[in-house]
């Protein structure tokens, strides 16, 4: 709580809260980044699960810059939103669920990129069962990430450490 109090009191945190432009830009960028980050991952997972079989698995990585850009936007805007209201998220267990689900989903994405999405021989034909299971798990984790992110807005117990309710 001391740490939250200190962070809340910094000029930057106050500016993030009080400048409508800074706060809403961060919210909007977070939503946009998430749409592209989750969208690109879902599309990849669906391809691994057999949708759009004409798309060569080994070429999907050419969309990787889009995923990276989205991840950078999502992380940066997410940190800014945390700086604005650190206690709001960090005292809420749902936030850690969101972070955990997103991290595991990203790690699965990375492992798929290093495995089945580099394998030219997999371009036509059935993808191994393990990769398909990981793709299905990835979809479930992204749904968890989105849902817990939305639920965050309804479940926080503390808005600001300096103003416990």
């Amino acid at each position: 709580m001391h740490y939250f109090l200190w962070l809340e009191g910094t000029g930057f945190s106050i500016w993030m809260r009080e400048s409508g432009l800074a706060f809403f830009s961060s919210l909007i960028l977070h939503a946009l980044g998430m749409a592209f980050l989750v969208g690109a991952h879902l599309a990849t997972d669906l391809r691994i699960l057999g949708v759009a079989p004409g798309v060569p698995l080994s070429l999907i990585r050419r969309f990787r810059p889009v995923t990276w850009a989205a991840l950078i936007v999502v992380s940066a805007s997410g940190v800014l939103l945390l700086v604005a209201y650190p206690a709001k998220a960090l005292t809420n267990p749902v936030f850690y669920l969101k972070l955990l689900a997103a991290t595991v989903a990203l790690l699965i994405g990375r492992s798929l990129y290093r495995g089945v999405l580099r394998d030219v021989t997999g371009d036509s034909g059935q993808v191994p069962g393990k990769a398909r299971a990981l793709a299905a798990l990835s979809i479930a984790l992204w749904i968890t990430t989105i849902t817990s992110g939305r639920v965050l807005a309804y479940t926080y117990k503390v808005l600001m450490a300096s103003d416990p309710r």
Partner: protein
């Protein structure tokens, strides 16, 4: 109009659902999943036409589009649930009005694309560059969908609308 929509929500049970403990966040989550699916399918297809991920055949990538249409359908339905539950918060909201206008532009762009452009895109080889008309349609589409997400997020910024809306 707001009254009629609200009445409809009351009669059909939408109002009860949306005001239940987890109704609103649950429908919001589904709405966000729908838009992610739309961007994952339509957004990536647009990006490919604009020159990203050259090598992936556009015709093959287009097989993802039904999932994007599915996401769109889910979002029209979940969006209707929001509007019905609090019509005055949406109908008089400039962010919502711009969002609807952008959806209309995106819709016309879809008609234009499938009527005049898609046949040429479908047969392009993997490494091929999309024709200029396809690039224009893709740029319009991406701009509209990004704008639609921005407006969707801004709806909460202009809420409640009474404070600024001079014609309400």
């Amino acid at each position: 109009m707001p009254e009629a929509l609200f009445e409809f929500g009351l009669r059909t049970g939408i109002h009860t659902l949306m005001n239940s403990a987890w109704g609103w966040p649950a429908v919001e989550s589904i709405h966000f999943l729908g838009l992610s699916m739309l961007i994952g399918a339509v957004g990536l297809f647009d990006l490919r036409m604009l020159g990203v991920a050259r090598g992936i055949p556009m015709g093959a990538l287009h097989r993802l589009i039904p999932w994007g249409i599915g996401g769109y359908a889910v979002n029209v339905m979940t969006g209707f649930l929001f509007v019905t539950s609090a019509p005055d918060q949406y109908l008089y909201n400039p962010a919502f009005q711009v969002k609807l206008a952008l959806m209309a532009v995106a819709g016309l762009n879809v008609l234009f694309f499938y009527r005049f452009v898609f046949a040429r895109v479908r047969v392009c080889a993997g490494e091929a560059e999309a024709p200029l008309s396809a690039k224009v349609a893709a740029a319009v589409s991406l701009t509209c969908w990004v704008g639609i997400i921005v407006c969707g997020r801004l709806i909460t910024y202009y809420r409640p609308p009474y404070h600024w809306c001079w014609w309400c």
